[in-house]
Point group: C2
Chain length 363, copies 2
C-alpha cells in the first residue's frame, strides 16, 4: 500500500507530500489510488489514476507518468493502461490496422504470410533476389531483417531499390499484391529521409523498432500526413521492460502501447521458438491489439522468432485468421527450392485457416 501511494507521488510531484498545502496540487496533480487488493502471497494489484492534464497530451509524457521514475524501483509492473477519451483523441493510432493491411494485399479470408530478408551480410542485389523468390512463392509481406540498417554490403537506398523492384516484378508475373517493407529504424536525423525515400522508391510498408528510436517516433511517422504506408513494429531493445521483476505486461507494452503509438502490425517472438515467451503471454499481446480502444483501430499480431511451418495447425487454433505469420529460417530449412518452401507455407496456411479458434473452445 505504501508502494502504491508512493507511485502516486513519484510519478507526479516528486516532492515530500507533507510539505504540500496547495489543494489544487493535492487533488488534481498527485495520482489517486482507486483500488488496492492482494492478488498473491506477496503481490498486490493497485489501480491508480492520474489527471489527464498531467500527461500534457504527448506520448513521451504519457509514458513518463505511467512508468518514468518508477522504472527505477523494482517490483512494479504496469499491467493494464486505461486511457480516457479526452487523451485518446490526441492520438490517431494506426492508420491502416487489420482492414487497411488486408485491403493493400487484397487478401481477406486467410492469415497473412510474412518473412524476413536475411542473413545480414548479403548484398542489396542478393537480398533483391531473395525478395523476388519470396514474392513469387506467395509471401504477402517481405520485410527487412531488423538488423539491416545502412551497412556497406547492402546500403539502405540500394537495398530498397532492388527489393522493391524485385517484388513488383514478381507481382506482375503472379498477379498478387505482395509488399516489400524496409527497415527504417535509424538515427533521429536519418529516419524521415529514409521513410520518404522508401515511399518514393516503391516500398509498401515500413519496419520500425520503437525500443531503439522511441515510441513517439513511431507515433510521429504513423501520423505524418505525407506518409501512406503501414508500419510493422519490432520489439528489439524492449525485452527488459517485460521482466516480471518490474516493467510492463506483454498486454500493455506490445499490445496497447504499440497500437496507441500507431503500429499496424506488431512483431513479437512466438512461444516455443528461440525466445522464452509463453503461449499465455502471446495471447495477451493479441488481446491488447484487439481490445476495444474507442476509434483506435485493431491491428495484426505478427508472431515470429523461430516458427516452423509444421506448427501452423496448432497456431491457427490460437491466432485465428487475423494474424501475420512471420517465418524466416524455416523456409530455408524446408527445401533447397525457396519458392517451393513458400508455396508449402502458403498451402499449410490455407489448409488450416478454418480451424476452430482454441480460445473459444472448451478447455
Amino acid at each position: 500500500l505504501q508502494m502504491a501511494n508512493d507511485i502516486c507521488i513519484e510519478q507526479t510531484i516528486e516532492f515530500p507530500i507533507d510539505l504540500v498545502q496547495n489543494e489544487f496540487i493535492l487533488n488534481q496533480v498527485v495520482g489517486h489510488l482507486e483500488s488496492f487488493e492482494k492478488i498473491g502471497d506477496c503481490s498486490y494489484k493497485a489501480k491508480i489514476s492520474f489527471h489527464v492534464d498531467v500527461a500534457a497530451f504527448e506520448l513521451t509524457q504519457v509514458l513518463n507518468v505511467i512508468f518514468g521514475n518508477i522504472s527505477l524501483k523494482p517490483g512494479i509492473v504496469a499491467s493494464e493502461i486505461e486511457l480516457p477519451d479526452t487523451l485518446l483523441q490526441y492520438f490517431k493510432g494506426p492508420r491502416f490496422g487489420l482492414e487497411g493491411i488486408r485491403r493493400i494485399l487484397n487478401v481477406y479470408d486467410r492469415p497473412l504470410l510474412g518473412t524476413a530478408l536475411k542473413p545480414l551480410g548479403l548484398s542489396a542485389k542478393e537480398l533483391g533476389n531473395l525478395a523476388y523468390q519470396f514474392a513469387k512463392g506467395g509471401i504477402d509481406i517481405i520485410k527487412d531483417d531488423h538488423g539491416l540498417a545502412d551497412q556497406a554490403y547492402a546500403p539502405f537506398q540500394e537495398r530498397v531499390k532492388y527489393c522493391a523492384e524485385a517484388v513488383q516484378k514478381a507481382n506482375a508475373e503472379t498477379g498478387s499484391a505482395s509488399i516489400y517493407v524496409p527497415n527504417v529504424t535509424s538515427s533521429f536525423t536519418n529516419i524521415l529521409p529514409r521513410v520518404y525515400f522508401a515511399q518514393q522508391t516503391g516500398a509498401r510498408g515500413l519496419l520500425l523498432a520503437p525500443g531503439l528510436v522511441g515510441f513517439d517516433t513511431l507515433r510521429a511517422i504513423s501520423a505524418d500526413e505525407s506518409v501512406h504506408l503501414p508500419i510493422l513494429s519490432h520489439p528489439s531493445f524492449l525485452g527488459c521492460f517485460l521482466s516480471p521483476a518490474g516493467g510492463f505486461s506483454h498486454y500493455a507494452l506490445l499490445g496497447q502501447l504499440m497500437r496507441l503509438a500507431g503500429a499496424d502490425a506488431v512483431i513479437f517472438p512466438n512461444y516455443g521458438g528461440r525466445f522464452p515467451f509463453t503461449r499465455v503471454e502471446c495471447e495477451n499481446i493479441v488481446k491488447g491489439l484487439k481490445v476495444d480502444l474507442g476509434r483506435i483501430k485493431k491491428i495484426f499480431p505478427m508472431p515470429g522468432g523461430g516458427i516452423q511451418i509444421e506448427m501452423l495447425p496448432e497456431l491457427s487454433r490460437i491466432y485465428g485468421k487475423d494474424v501475420i505469420y512471420l517465418i524466416g529460417g524455416d523456409l530455408f530449412r524446408h527445401s533447397q527450392d525457396l519458392i517451393e518452401s513458400c508455396r508449402y507455407f502458403h498451402d499449410m496456411v490455407v489448409k488450416y485457416k478454418d480451424q476452430p479458434d482454441l480460445t473459444f473452445s472448451p478447455a
Copy 2:
C-alpha cells in the same frame, strides 16, 4: 557457452548457422566469442566482438547489435562496452563535459550545486519565483523537474521565459553565473522547436530523458551545430534496463552510453535515497563517466533522488569535487526560508569540498 554463441548469431544474422556457407558472413558479420569464463556459481562472463561494419555507424544500430534481440532473452547483462576508434570517430560525444560546464558557471574549485523546480502543478510564475530564490541562494544549476512538460498550468514557453528571466535577475544581483535548464523531453515533432526556443529565450542548458525520446535523439541534439547548450540526461523510463535479471550494468548504461550519446552530466538516484541504487552501483556510474574513451570528454555525475544536505560530508568522500549534487525536497524541509536553505547547502559543499576521496583511501 551456448548462450554466448547464440548472442553472436542472434545479434547479427538471426539465421540457422548450419545453413550459412558464405565465408564472408561467417567471418565478418557473425559475432565472435573472444573469451569465456565462469565468474560465479551460475554466472559466466563472455567477451563478444562484432565487426564495426555491422553497426553501420549509427547509434540506433550500435544499440541494436549490443542488446536488441537479446533484450528478449533473460539472464544476459551487457556489463562493459568497448568501442573501437573507427566507430568512436563517428560520435562527437559531449560538447561541454566537465570543463565546459565549469567554464559556463565560472566555478572551478568545488562540487556544483543543482536543484529541481517542483512540485508539478505550480504556475510558470510560481516556478520562476522559485528559480529566483534558488539562484539567489547560490544554486549553480536550476533544472525543471523532469515531469514538467507542457502542462496547462505551466506551459513550456511561458515557464522558460519566467524561469530564465528570474535566474538572470538573480545573477545580476549576486554576480554569479547560475543557469536555468528546462526539460525539453517531448514528442519527435516538438523537441527541436523546444530546444531552439529554450536557447533563444535564455535557457543555459537542456534536460533530456533518453529513455523517453531515444538515445539517438540525445546524440542528435548534442551534435546539432546550432545548439550551444550543455545537456543533463535524466534516467526516467530506463530502470528496467538495470535489472540483474538482464540488461545493462550501471557502468555501461548510465556511464558509457549516456556519455557516448552526448550528455554533459548524468542524473541518477543516489544510494540511500528514494531509489534502491547501491553505493557500488553509483561508483560504477561515475567510473563510466570518467573512464578514458579517447577524445570523448569526461562528464559530471549528478546524483539526486532524495539526497539530504546532512549526507554531504559522506558524499564528498565518494564523489570528490567533480560532481553536481542534486537536492530538491530537502531544501524545503531544511528551513522555511528557501534562500537560507540554499546558502546552507552551499556552505556545506564548500566546507567538505577538500575531504580525502574515499576511493583512494585504504579500506
